[in-house]
Symmetry: D2
Subunit: 307 residues, 4 copies
């Protein structure tokens, strides 16, 4: 269900909590429907944005099961399984695959040094996971560099089906990978962009097959993809530009997830914007700024989710 | 000439080079005129964007002298003097002030640990510089955190006149400082925003007196300030939003300066987009992306500089 | 059972694994006896050295229960509960205290910025843990700085009973804390040194009440404490110096735990030197170097554990 | 004068200052004589320990000229030329070679990401320097990883004559390089150990040709090399062990250089222990600890330098 031909918008889902910090499974259902209604080609859960390190293994599997059951095969569900040890990674990956996940996403462990150490780590992780593998390239968080040439070597393992490309800046790397593929030096991967959607038009023009991000208006991401693929670049850029102020607000490090949950709540997609502690709180000023941007967006885009 | 009432757009100038890497003083003149024509309230040189660590002390002073002479007192010139040792900081600061600089900008040394160490370092730097002092708060580069309460303590020294506020995210800190001032807990500083202009409307709404950044269309920054101060927030945001795609492109770490020099060259403001080695080179794809954004901007904004 | 008068050697215990990576509870028993026989005043489990991030919550509690039951009240057991979220921290802390732990050790979360943020985090952690609290000051790993003045403020909460002082260099900070205590500016804490034992004589001379470390010959640490407290500094230093080559070998970042488990296995204290993957493997050359140092030590110190 | 057969102890010299921070050239002479009298096979100046980033270009060359003139060809002098830009690197390298330096030492620029970027940077630096090249591998400071395989590729350029190997832990890397050489996969380099001398016996046993470090008793380093090469490992270790407490004290990050200058002053090798600001100051407690260790050493080793 997840292979190297995957394309479109994979929405990264947050983990909704009740005000007391417990899992909010009702919101999980509603959110799942909203993302599918928005045109998601896939859903990704338990990534950084899913507060995965703050969940117990049991909570992770409970939430995964709920989302996968609700999706009911309509789109593939990718489950994040990055962990300090391979034992936990295996437990999450197996549990998720048994419950119907389509693939497992892993980021190299922070602190890996030198190309060979990174390649070796990912090779081991693919053995541990033993399922369709999504490689997350997010050096702003992992502090691990993966060049196009390194990814080409990793892609010799057929389990590596998808690259979540969110190095920053990363557009030239995306071009380099597509060039290596065109030269026959590596198999063609599904590549989805990231970095919060900040470079979606450029990513698609460079050859990305779509994007995997948690921007709170996934229907815009879907529409931009359609316009780009229809050759309507100016129209795509016009739509993208209308959202860029909010995108910019959501990618602020340390604060972005709180803003996204606030927007998703305002859209009625989740019931509460609770984050698990420790976590930042939005000030009234920040909420006012987001409200202002939402009001501007509402002139052209319905605030309420389609679902 | 630089005091706590300073406001407006201080343009951060790059250091122009000839293709062989030597100082391009003719471009320095042209650039200076262009920035003043664009409405700059001040010009800042020899910052990070000025490739200051790649200049000899003599080159730094030669360039500073040229810019200051050309400005001829029309606006204040701020000169960056961050250095690994206080001896060099003093040499640059004295040399610049003797040549007519209005103030000196310093960032805390990377690696300082703990609030007291940072406060002590800045107190010493103010002694060393002994001139109107601009504190650069740019933790993405310095890895040094300065809270509102710390800045309040530093502001007890009357030489601290201006804060270049570019923590990211940093809007709530800006609000906290203005609150401490309103409560009489610290004197009122001139605060200029930063982070490449990405949050200019919000910074102004939070109480910034302007912005200090090197975005390649400073006339837009000037106009946004005017509109905001005239209470025309929607118009300000409309103009800002039109530039945000290019702003986003210019703030990419490691690549941004190369893009800015490319845009300034295309605008005729500097003759060459040379960076001193080691430095990244723009790919044709990146240049194409910038060209596309410039063409879109040109519909509403003249590409050629006013000067 | 753990209060501000605690003193002596708290041995940091590794988590023993069978060759297949499962918990080795028989070794846990043997190790516990060996450490008590060596003169430990306390045992600390589930710290960094205990590979805690690679254990599931259930494994952590199983291991804690086994050690605590074996200790049977002879010495206090401190349990590490650092975690990305407070929910997990609470779960481990409560589980450990219910099983008979004497206190809980927590390190500030990596990435905290500014003194106030750190103080606030620890205040919240003390609420979450709500038990005798051991503050781990290990900035080489956490990248969080805690000055003497910050620790003084934290110590206003009576739950903070012990500081594991392993900043590096950290001796002047230790002196500063003891000075603040002497001046009545903070209550007297139990302070145990760390950094692998590298500065044990100096730590004791500066006022530490003992040491908390995992050096594989805890009986030496105990003896050095006794000699120092008996005023026999030269003798203490002589004994310490004999072990310093091995101490130096054990503190190598990334490699140290593998070496410690190897030594503990050679001493018969644990059955296997298995680390959970991903983990480094010792080369024959490294094992040879350790063997050589053990042979030299054996001239003065029995290799086999007393237990 | 510096080639791939170089061996022995290259002493890293500090830059002596007068109490007012000016260069102390008289101490430079005395220090140079002391290091040669101690048996130095070479002298390295303007490294990290030489406070090079705190010197102007002119001061650097003045100091280099003084040391080189005093050495008068008795041993090779290596000059550090790491710099943010290649223009400065070239200026220091040329100036030093014209004055009689034997080689130039460079560390990869901090922030380089990925093996290829590092290899490319060093290739460019060798072009810039165009002289016998000493590669400094000190990732604790540069945050750049260089594996054995990367160094093998760099060694294809015959200008790379020496590796200053101070990764930590780095002994297995040293073995890997010697293995690649033995397998004919790279030419044999001169490899000198480092990390303050902490692993000198092991480095030599692993195949290092000597050591390049600034430990304040270079005559011990020389003697340990001689004993190791004469097959007297136990004697070498005995001598080394006697110094390890002081070595351990000198390698403390941020504090080490102040301690080394203090010891060199106490030995009469330099006149003042001045560091250029900003710099840490030794507390009386730290000085007392160093004095105690010096007194212990004096039982077996004369405190006063031979020169």
């Amino acid at each position: 269900m997840l292979d190297r031909s995957a394309k479109g918008v994979f929405v990264i889902a947050p983990t909704p909590f009740l005000p007391d910090g417990e899992l909010d499974l009702a919101s999980a259902d509603r959110m799942t429907e909203a993302f599918i209604a928005a045109g998601a080609a896939g859903i990704t859960i338990l990534g950084v944005m899913g507060e995965a390190p703050k969940l117990t293994e049991q909570e992770s599997l409970t939430f995964a099961e709920r989302v996968i059951r609700r999706v009911a095969g309509r789109v593939p569900v990718v489950v994040g399984a990055s962990a300090p040890g391979f034992a936990q990674m295996r437990a999450i990956a197996r549990g998720a695959m048994e419950r119907g996940a389509a693939g497992i996403m892993v980021s190299p462990a922070p602190g890996l040094k030198g190309d060979e150490a990174v390649i070796s780590y990912i090779a081991q992780a693919m053995e541990v996971v033993d399922a369709p593998f999504v490689l997350q390239d997010y050096p702003q968080l992992s502090a691990v560099t993966m060049t196009a040439a390194m990814i080409a070597r990793m892609a010799a393992d057929p389990r590596l089906v998808m690259l979540k490309a969110e190095d920053w800046p990363g557009l030239d790397k995306l071009t380099s990978i597509r060039r290596l593929e065109a030269e026959g030096k590596m198999p063609r991967l599904s590549i989805l962009g990231g970095v919060g959607g900040q470079f979606l038009p450029e990513e698609l023009a460079r050859g990305a097959d779509g994007i995997m991000t948690g921007y709170a208006f996934p229907e815009m991401l879907v529409k931009v993809c359609e316009l780009m693929w229809a050759g309507k670049r100016d129209e795509a850029q016009d739509l993208f530009d209308a959202h860029l102020p909010l995108i910019r607000t959501e990618v602020q490090p340390g604060l972005g997830l709180a803003i996204r949950k606030y927007v998703l709540k305002r859209r009625g997609i989740i019931a509460h914007d609770t984050l698990r502690a420790p976590a930042p709180k939005l000030t009234p000023e920040t909420m006012g700024e987001v409200d202002y941007l939402l009001a501007r967006l509402a002139r052209t885009q319905p605030l309420a989710a389609a679902a």
